[in-house]
Structures are given as C-alpha cells and as structure tokens.
C-alpha cells in the first residue's frame, strides 16, 4: 500500500491540452459532430426525405474513415498518448476505427430500405447509430479507466434505445429491456472492478496502472478480483459465455439492421479494449487472469456452437455463432501475452469477423420483407432458386464462419490456433478444432435449406428485391471475406503493425 501511495504523487494535471491532443481525437470528433448535426437535421428534413440523413451520415463516416486512415500514418509505429494518457493515438486505435467506421457505413447503406419496409424510418435512428459509433471509437482508443467506462456507457445506452427501436413490436421492446437491465448490471461489475483496480494501483491511466502492477509480484487479491470483475464486464459486451445469455434474445428481438450493427461493431470495440487491458496493461498479472480467459474462451466455443446446432431461427443461430466466434478470438487474447501472433490473430479474426458476420446479417436484413423479419429457417427455403446470388453470398459467409479455406474465417481461426500451438497450449487448440468441426453442420445445414423447395403447406416467404444498396453491401462484404481469405498478407501486416504500436505499451 505504501508504494502505491508514493506513486499517487506523480504530477499529472500540470499542462493544458493542445492541438496535438485534439488531432489524436479527430475521427471521434468528426463523428461526434456528425451526431449533433444529425439530431438538428432530423428536425428540418421532411419525413419523406429521411434518406438524406443516411446520405449525410454516410458522408460523415467516410470523412472520419479518411481521417482515421490518415491517422494510421500520422500516429506512426510508436503512436502517442494524448490527453495526459487518457487516450491512445496509435495504430491499434486507428485500425479499430477503420473497422468500426466501415461497419457503420455499410449498416447505414442498407438501413433505409429495411427501415422503410418495416416502417421504422425515424430520424433519430441515424443519430443514435452515430452516437454508438462515437462510443465505440472512443472505447477503442481509451487508455484510462474513466474513458473506458464513459465510452462503454455511451455505446451501450445508444444501443439500448436502438434495440428497442421498433416501438410496435413486443419482441423489440423485450430485447431493449433485457439489454438495458443486464447491460447496466454488467457495467456495475465492470465499474466495481475498475474501482478495485484504481484503488489498489492508485491510478486510472493504464500506463501507470501497468507500471504499478509490474512493480510488485502478482499477489494482491483485491487487484486480482478487480481484474476479474473488469473482464466479466467486458466479456458481457463481447457476449462471451457464460455472460452471453442476453445475446440471442436481444439479437433476435432487435431490428435486424441494428443487430447487424451491434453484433459486429460492439465486439470489435470491446475486444480492442480487452486486448489493450489484458495483453498489455495487466500483462504482469497474466498468471492470475489467464485461467479465467481460457475458461471463458472454451465455454464460449462449446456453448455457442452446440446451442446453435439445433436452432431454427437464423438470427438466433447467428447470435450463438457470434458467441462461439468470441470464444475463438479469446484464444488469441488468452495466449496473447508474450506471443505477438496471439494478438495479431485476434485482430485479424476481428477484421474477418466484421466482414463475414456483417455480410451474413446484411443478407438477413436485405431479405427481410414487409411483414415480419426474415428469421425462421423456413423463410430461407428456395432462396437459392429465386435469389441465387444472394443465397450464394449467404452460403459464402456461412462457410467463412465455419472456417473453410478461401474465406476470411479460415485464416482467422488458423492464426489463433497457431498462436495457441506456439504457446504450447495444444489443448486450447484442440477445443477449437473440435468445436469448429461441430459448427460445420449447422452452417452447412442452412445452405442446404436454401436449396430445398419451399414447403407446400406454408406460404413461401416474400423476399423483397435486393436493390442497389443491398447488392453493393453484399458485394463489398463478400469481396472483403474473399480477400481476407486469399491475400492474407494485406490485413495481417496491418494487424501486425497495429499490435506492434499498442499503447500504453509495457
């Protein structure tokens, strides 16, 4: 305790923030500005012209994306810490920004059509989406417990509202409440963990926390407890078992476009911060938390894949598969300390997962018609005959989720398994192997159903026309999945650089 106290005396708030600090936050600032602008525009734009909002937010996102790309080079391999160590301006953050912004952009592109069909086209949709995006970007860059907390709450609250966005639908409301109550419950745990970590190290900046941790042997029980509680809170956000229970219900209940967005973007942001915390800041306590992370990883793979095995709702199935994917990414995290390949693999997996899962949900969104969302497997019967290319795309995404070669998913799995082997943790890899062998069935089953004829008794589901926006999104995601599956070197290099330049960098 004494040593920690001494640390507390470090001079912090002497300087004032300067332009260089703001540059570090530029993408986030742009997005935030867009968020405010959207709220104002919503008041002036006539209801019939709501698509303009989509166009506007798309423009904002593109701008932010451009700045993030520029920031990738500007931050350089070392990166730098801004706002007195509260926020990281490094390649990891910019990498995350890019993925998140692309995700949001694609979601925005498919939203108008969907929302119009479902009669949900309200202006605040876009502003909320933008707010959530800002939260995620902040989360990706946060290096201070406070910022982490703020960012998480920002994105969570926006998502609570979005998931309840369909006011008429019972399910949507139920999803919102579940997400709200459980979400705030989880953030309470996260918060308590933060309090303990802060208290035991005397700091809220990761750099100093890491320093303080590395000072002593990993023996402080309260600190260990804090770390575990923080992990629980974040594991909830990435919907890793056993903190996954909300996922299927919320994914199923929320409007599909929202599900598309949160199933991908949230995971990316939360995983980035998990990597920052555990593979970097808390590295010296590895011997304590690794067991928990490994356990959660295995649980997620097993529960997710096996529960998905007997699903008959495509949205729930994808939710469970998302849980399983979180497990695979956690393999990379679990062995990530001292084995760069672990973190690189996790990052690669995140990018791959972003494209693949986004594509899969995009298909569901684009194919959701006037009446109810496309959900039951029976809605997919005969899709391959009526919409061959959409069906082929969905099949492709499912193969990628199953981890077949020539798709992004294969190399995601490959890299994390490689990391596990390199860490001499063959058991973990074997769990991954076994569960992905199981997963093959329910993914392939869907492809088969798409080729079957619709049942005589049940009326065939009315699929809407794909439309320009929809096909564009499917094309982009499919192309991304393919590129990540063949020209691995591109993204792998990016991931390597991002991993190399992580702040606080202990």
């Amino acid at each position: 305790m004494r040593t920690v106290n001494a640390l507390a005396a470090l001079p912090l708030a002497t300087a004032t923030p300067g332009w260089r600090d703001l540059v570090g936050l530029l993408p986030e600032l742009i997005a935030a500005g867009g968020f405010l602008a959207l709220m104002l525009l919503d008041l002036v734009v006539p209801p019939a012209r709501r698509t303009w909002l989509a166009v506007f937010s798309g423009a904002v996102l593109v701008g932010a994306l451009a700045v993030s790309v520029w920031g990738w080079y500007d931050a350089g391999s070392a990166g730098r810490s801004v706002f007195f160590g509260a926020f990281a301006y490094d390649r990891l953050a910019e990498f995350a920004n890019c993925v998140i912004l692309v995700t949001t952009l694609l979601t925005v592109v498919i939203s108008p059509g969907y929302l119009n069909r479902r009669r949900l086209h309200h202006g605040e949709y876009y502003s909320l989406l933008m707010a959530a995006t800002v939260g995620m970007m902040l989360l990706a860059g946060a290096t201070s417990l406070m910022v982490i907390f703020l960012a998480i709450e920002l994105l969570s609250i926006s998502l609570y509202i979005l998931s309840g966005f369909s006011r008429q639908e019972e399910r949507s409301q139920e999803a919102a409440v579940k997400y709200l109550l459980l979400g705030s419950f989880a953030s309470a745990f996260l918060l308590f963990g933060m309090a303990l970590v802060y208290g035991e190290t005397g700091h809220t900046q990761l750099a100093q926390i890491a320093e303080a941790m590395s000072r002593s042997l990993p023996v402080d029980p309260l600190l260990v407890g804090g770390i575990i509680l923080m992990f629980v809170g974040l594991a909830f956000k990435v919907s890793a078992a056993p903190f996954h229970a909300w996922t299927p219900d919320v994914y199923q209940g929320a409007p599909t476009s929202v599900t598309t967005f949160m199933s991908v973007a949230t995971k990316v942001a939360a995983f980035i911060v998990i990597i920052r915390l555990f593979d970097d800041a808390f590295a010296s306590y590895y011997s304590r938390w690794s067991a928990v992370v490994i356990a959660v990883a295995i649980l997620s793979m097993v529960v997710g894949n096996l529960a998905a095995l007997t699903q008959n709702s495509i949205k729930r199935m994808l939710a469970y598969s998302g849980i399983a994917q979180a497990g695979y990414i956690l393999i990379g995290v679990a062995v990530g300390v001292g084995i760069p390949l672990g973190v690189q693999g996790a990052l690669y997996y995140l990018a791959a997962y972003a494209f693949t899962n986004l594509g899969a949900f995009a298909v569901v969104t684009v194919m959701s018609g006037q009446g109810e969302d496309l959900d039951s497997y029976d809605h997919l019967r005969g899709l391959w005959r009526r919409r061959p290319y959409v069906a082929a795309a969905l099949a492709f995404f499912l193969l990628s989720l199953a981890g077949f070669p020539f798709t992004a998913g294969f190399f995601g799995k490959f890299l994390v398994f490689a990391a596990a082997i390199q860490a001499h943790n063959v058991a973990l890899a074997l769990w991954g192997i076994g569960t992905s062998a199981v997963s093959v069935f329910y993914y392939l089953r869907v492809t088969l159903i798409m080729f079957q004829r619709p049942k005589e008794d049940a009326p065939a589901y009315e699929w809407p026309r794909t439309g320009l926006a929809g096909s564009a999104v499917l094309l982009v995601t499919a192309a991304g999945t393919l590129v990540l599956g063949v020209f691995v070197v591109l993204v792998l290099t990016v991931a390597t650089m991002a991993q190399a330049g992580t702040l606080p960098g202990t």
Binding site: I228, F243, A245, L306
Partner: protein, 668 residues
C-alpha cells in the same frame, strides 16, 4: 536365325490371329458370315504357314543355335534393382513344337467350326474368341519373360472363359465359365508369387551352402527373363526349400491350367462350351500348357527333386482318378473330358519324373487323337440334335460310317493299341519304370491306367456306335457334311500314322521328338535328367503295357458290345458297392469344395455385411446424439428470464473469483 528375324516371324505368328480376332469381332457382325469364316480360318492358316517357316528355320539352324531370344518392346523399367520387364520372345524347339500343334490342329478345328457354327447367330464372336485364343496360346509359348508368360497364361484363361460361356444365356454355361476362370486365377496368383520369389532370390553367384563363410556375397540379379533364370537357376540352391517352394508354386499354376487334382473340377463343366472349343482348348492345347510350363522350367524342376516327385505323383493320381470317373459318365463330352484329364495326368507324370521329351511326345500325339475324338463327338452331337447323353445313342456306326471309323481310330489311339497312344504312353511308362519317386511303384499304377483307358475308351465307343439305336434322334441320325468331316479324317490319319512315322527310324529307341527336343532339356553339362530304359527292359515294358491296354479293351468290348459280361453282379459285392456311385458322382469333389470353400466365404460376406459397417460407423451416431443432447441442455438454460441470466453472471463471477483466489493460494 538372328534375333530380328525371330522377332519378325514371332510377331507375325502373334499378329495374324490377333488381327483375325479383331476383324471378326469388330466388323465381322457387319460384313457377315462368309467374311467371318474366311478371316477366322485364313488368319490361323497364315499363322500356321509362318510357323512352318519357323520350324524349317529351327531345323536348319546349327546345333546349339536353335534357340533365339528377341525383345519386342520394353514393358516396364523401374530402374536398377527394381522390376524391369521387356516383352521378350524365345523361339526354340519346344516353342516351335507347341506352335505347330497350336496353329496346325487349330487350323483344322477352325475349318471344322465353319460347319459346326453354321447356324449359330454368334459365329463372328465365336471366331473372334477362337482367334484370340490362338494368339494368347502363341504368346504363352513364345514368352521369354516370366511376366509376359503370365500375361499369355491369363489371356489363355480369358479366352477359355469367354468360350465356355459362349452360350451366355445358359446359366450352367455362365457358372462353368466363372468356375474355370477363378480356378485359373488361383494358378495365376501362384505363378506371380513364384515369380516374386525368383525375382527376389535369383543371384549371379551361387548362394552359399548353409553355415559356411563365402568369399563374395551373391549379387542379386533382379530379373524375370527366362534365359537368365534358367542360367542362374542353381543360385536358388539345389534341392533347397526355396526352390522346392518355387517349383511347387509353378506346379500349382500348371495343375490349375491342366486340370490336375485338386484343381481339376472346372474341366468337365467346361464342356458347356461348343464342341470345337472343347477340342481345341480343353483337349489339344490349353490344358496341356501346364505340361509345357513344367517342361519349360525343367532347369528349376531338375534342381527340386521333391517338387518333381510331387508333380509325378499328382499326375499319376489324377490319371487314375479321372480314368475311374470316366468309367461311369454318361455325357459323351464329359467322358472324353475325363479321359483328357487322365491322359494329361500321364504327361504331368512324365515331366514329373524328368522325361520331358516323353511328356511332349504324349502331348503331340494326344493333341491329334483327342481333337479327333472331340470333333467326331461333335459330329455325333450334331447328328442326334444336340443330345449328349450316350444312353440316348447307339447303333450310329451304320448311320455315320466315316465318323464311326474315325472314332474307332481315335479310341484305339487313346487306348494305346496300334495307333498314336501306343507309342507315346509306352514311351513315358518306360521311363517310369526306372525314374521317379519309388519307381517302379508309379509305373505299376500306370499299367493300371492303361487298363482303365481301354475300358472307358471302348465303353464310350461301344455304347455310342454299336448296338441298336436307343432314341428317335439316334435312329434317324445321318452323316455330317464335308467341311466337318475332312478335319476329322485328317486328324484320324495323323493319329494313325504320326506315331509310326516318328518312331520309324529306331524301334524302341529314342524317337524323333526325343532327338528334336533333347537339346532343350539337357541342362548344360549333364545329360537329360531321366534315364531311358535299356533295350530289353523297354521291350518287356512295352509288351506288358500293350497287353494291359488290350485287356482293358477286351473287357470293355465284352461288357458294352457283346453284353456277355455283366459287371453289376461283381460290383454288388459289399466292398465294391460304393465304387459306381463314387465314380458317377465324380468322387463328390464339387460338393466338397462347395461346402468347404464357397459357402463359408459367401456366409462370411453376408455376416460382414450385416455386422461390419454398422459397427464401424456407430460412433458417428453416438457423437451426433451427444452433441444434440448438449445442445438441448444449453438451450434449456436459456430461459428468457432476465433474473436467470443475471444469476448466471453472478454465479460465474463467484466461481471465477474463488477459483483464482484458491489457485493463487496454492501457488503461494
């Protein structure tokens, strides 16, 4: 002659029948019967002519240069120390003698077939198969590499299979064909394994005698070329277990082909084929390939006395057995088939005791009179409208004189009186007196075989041709037409005269065939392995053998022609009562094999089908069941209730915290 000429001539001998086969088979059905008849017979005629040329060449060649080996093309080269096979052919006295019979007798039988198959819609197919047989038989006798020999060996089996099952709509024919083929495959496998043994063990330096230090280790040859094998045969050891095993395997191959015990049961069924087939393949040529094989590999058998002794015993045993069975068969062709088996048994006995030339001599003459008998039988069958049961015949001699006379000549030749059989059989029995295991034990048995031969030969002749017709068909039977008669007559002439001609210069001495072939069979340095009997013992043996044949003939005539001797009472005695039934049922070999081999295999197959796969992929069902169970468990905890979800979180937070704390405590 030089290698290129040999290659050319041999190539022609092979090419003509092959071309004939292709022509008949592919365009024959289109161009019609005349074309088929011409192409089918002319091709063999051409081959025969070429063979004559070869024969002249060989006769003209200086002694010691009669054998020529040539390479046609490379078959397989897997690099030094591994399998290297080229398509080699050897022309020497032995192969040329075989070729003469194959193409010569073959030609006659083809001519005969023109008439015999006149009304059969499948004539084109028939001639195609027959020509293919001539080709494969020629390949078999010409082969100078063991692999090529095996190829010919199998090709012969194939054509035999095709011809036995020629009338493929008859279930019996189909089954007989399958039986014959599978029996042949047994022989093939035996040969292949023998070849492998030779390939692995043959070496340039003679192998060391056991427990003795050698200067230079034998350097392996890794070859299957026959001249090489024969040249270095001694490296396989003299009388060693190895060479004995090799020779036994070779003998198994020979037995399968030559229908020797215990692989003999296919031959009688093979009579399902058209009669010319029986004459050519299952009497004259193919079934004697076993004899050829052993004669060809004499330089190995010379080194393996045990194996040769076994061969001799099996040969003689088969001769007796077949003769015994032949006594009571009622199908005219089957009787002849068993007699073939018996006669070949004698040949096998001859080569078994090392009297190779004698064996080939018997082969030559047997080819004549057995083809004669079959063709004559074919005439008879034609005359009585495809009736083959001799009990439905009788009294045919007045109705078809020429055939009857020819058949009589054939029967005499078979029984060994006056004509062909007399010379060859007495010759090889003469060798038997002083050679072979436990001589003269087998010789005495051989004498008995003479009696048997006389008996069944003239039982057949008597019941078929003499007495009164016993059926409508037999009553108004009439002589066949010329094209089916001339070959028979020619063969009758050959059977009658060949022996006298070949024996002419030297009575009771070595005959011409002996002189012609001995260079082949004298392993370099030593003389022929089997000693010929001295003059007077030879004469004595000759007389004894002849009398035995005569006794047999006489008894047969009394029983089945003059009917003044009734064996039934003699056979009614308790000790002998079993004999007729055994003979009639072919000693129950088919039933035995059926119960011992065929049924158990089938049963095993059915059992495996029921058990094997289901057990082996039961685990899949297990896995999927377990997975589904877990799946339902995980879904059932997904109650949809917020409070449950929250409690899971709390529960696992507690578990993880306590767990880590405990782990940390233990780590302390």
């Amino acid at each position: 002659m030089n290698a290129s000429t040999a290659a050319l001539l041999a190539g022609l001998v092979l090419l003509f029948p092959l071309a004939g086969s292709a022509l008949c088979g592919l365009i024959g059905p289109v161009l019609g019967r005349r074309f088929v008849n011409l192409a089918g017979t002319l091709s063999i005629g051409a081959a025969f002519v070429v063979t004559l040329v070869i024969f002249v060449q060989v006769l003209g060649a200086a002694s010691g240069h009669q054998s020529t080996t040539a390479t046609l093309w490379n078959w397989l080269n897997l690099g030094p120390g591994n399998l290297n096979v080229s398509v080699d052919i050897t022309i020497d006295q032995l192969s040329v003698l075989m070729l003469l019979v194959i193409t010569g007798v073959g030609l006659l039988i083809h001519v005969y077939s023109v008439g015999y198959m006149e009304h059969d819609p499948g004539a084109a197919r028939f001639f195609s198969y027959m020509n293919f047989f001539i080709f494969s038989m020629a390949l078999l006798v010409l082969a100078a590499n063991m692999v090529i020999l095996i190829i010919g060996w199998a090709a012969v089996a194939l054509s035999s299979y095709l011809l036995i099952g020629f009338w493929y709509e008859r279930e019996s024919a189909v089954l007989a064909a399958r039986k014959a083929f599978i029996t042949q495959v047994i022989g093939d496998v035996a040969l292949v394994i023998a070849a492998i043994l030779i390939f692995v063990n043959l070496s340039a330096v003679p192998a060391c005698p056991p427990n003795e230090k050698c200067a230079g280790l034998p350097q392996a040859l890794h070859t299957l070329s026959l001249p090489q094998i024969f040249a270095h045969a001694s490296s396989l050891g003299v009388g060693s277990p190895l060479i004995t095993l090799i020779c036994i395997l070779l003998a198994v191959g020979a037995f399968a082909k030559s229908a020797q015990f215990p692989l003999h049961t296919w031959l009688p069924d093979a009579m399902e084929g058209p009669t010319p087939v029986s004459a050519l393949i299952h009497a004259a040529t193919m079934v004697t390939a076993g004899v050829y094989l052993i004669a060809r590999f004499h330089s190995l058998f010379d080194l393996a006395p045990i194996a040769s002794g076994m061969v001799a015993c099996v040969g003689m045993g088969t001769a007796v057995m077949a003769g015994f069975i032949a006594l009571s068969q009622v199908d005219i062709k089957r009787v002849i088939a068993y007699s073939t088996m018996s006669q070949i048994g004698l040949m096998i006995f001859a080569v078994g005791i090392g009297a190779y030339a004698a064996g080939m001599y018997q082969f030559l003459l047997h080819a004549f009179f057995k083809a004669l008998l079959f063709l004559a039988a074919g005439n008879v069958i034609h005359a009585v409208h495809d009736e083959q049961d001799i009990r439905e015949m009788g009294g045919l001699d007045s109705r078809m004189r020429v055939t009857a006379w020819c058949f009589l000549v054939g029967s005499l030749a078979l029984a060994g009186f006056l004509f062909a059989g007399m010379f060859s059989k007495e010759d090889l029995l003469g060798f038997g007196m002083i050679n072979g295991p436990g001589s003269p034990a087998l010789y005495i048995v051989g004498i008995g075989v003479n009696v048997l031969t006389g008996l069944y030969a003239f039982r057949l002749y008597g019941t078929t041709f003499r007495g009164e017709p016993r059926s409508e068909a037999a009553r108004n039977a009439h002589e066949s037409k010329a094209v089916m008669l001339w070959p028979v007559v020619i063969l009758a002439g050959l059977s009658a005269l060949a022996g006298w001609i070949l024996q002419w210069p030297v009575a009771f001495g070595p005959h011409l065939i002996d002189a012609f072939l001995n260079p082949v069979f004298t392993s370099p340095g030593s003389g022929p392995i089997a000693k010929a009997p001295q003059l007077w013992p030879g004469v004595l043996g000759f007389v004894i053998g002849l009398t035995c044949s005569l006794i047999g003939i006489a008894i047969a005539l009394r029983i089945w022609v003059r009917h003044d001797l009734d064996p039934s009472r003699a056979l009614a005695r308790p000790g002998l009562r079993l004999l007729p039934r055994l003979s009639f049922n072919k000693l129950y070999f088919d039933e035995l094999y059926d119960t011992l081999l065929v049924r158990p295999t089938r049963a095993l197959g059915r059992g495996l089908r029921r058990v094997g796969d289901p057990v082996m992929d039961s685990w899949i069902k297990g896995v999927s069941d377990v997975a589904t169970d877990f799946s339902s468990v995980f879904r059932s905890v997904q109650t949809g209730l917020i409070r449950d979800y929250a409690s899971y979180m709390v529960l696992f937070v507690v578990i993880f915290t306590i767990g880590v704390m405990l782990a940390a405590g233990l780590a302390r």
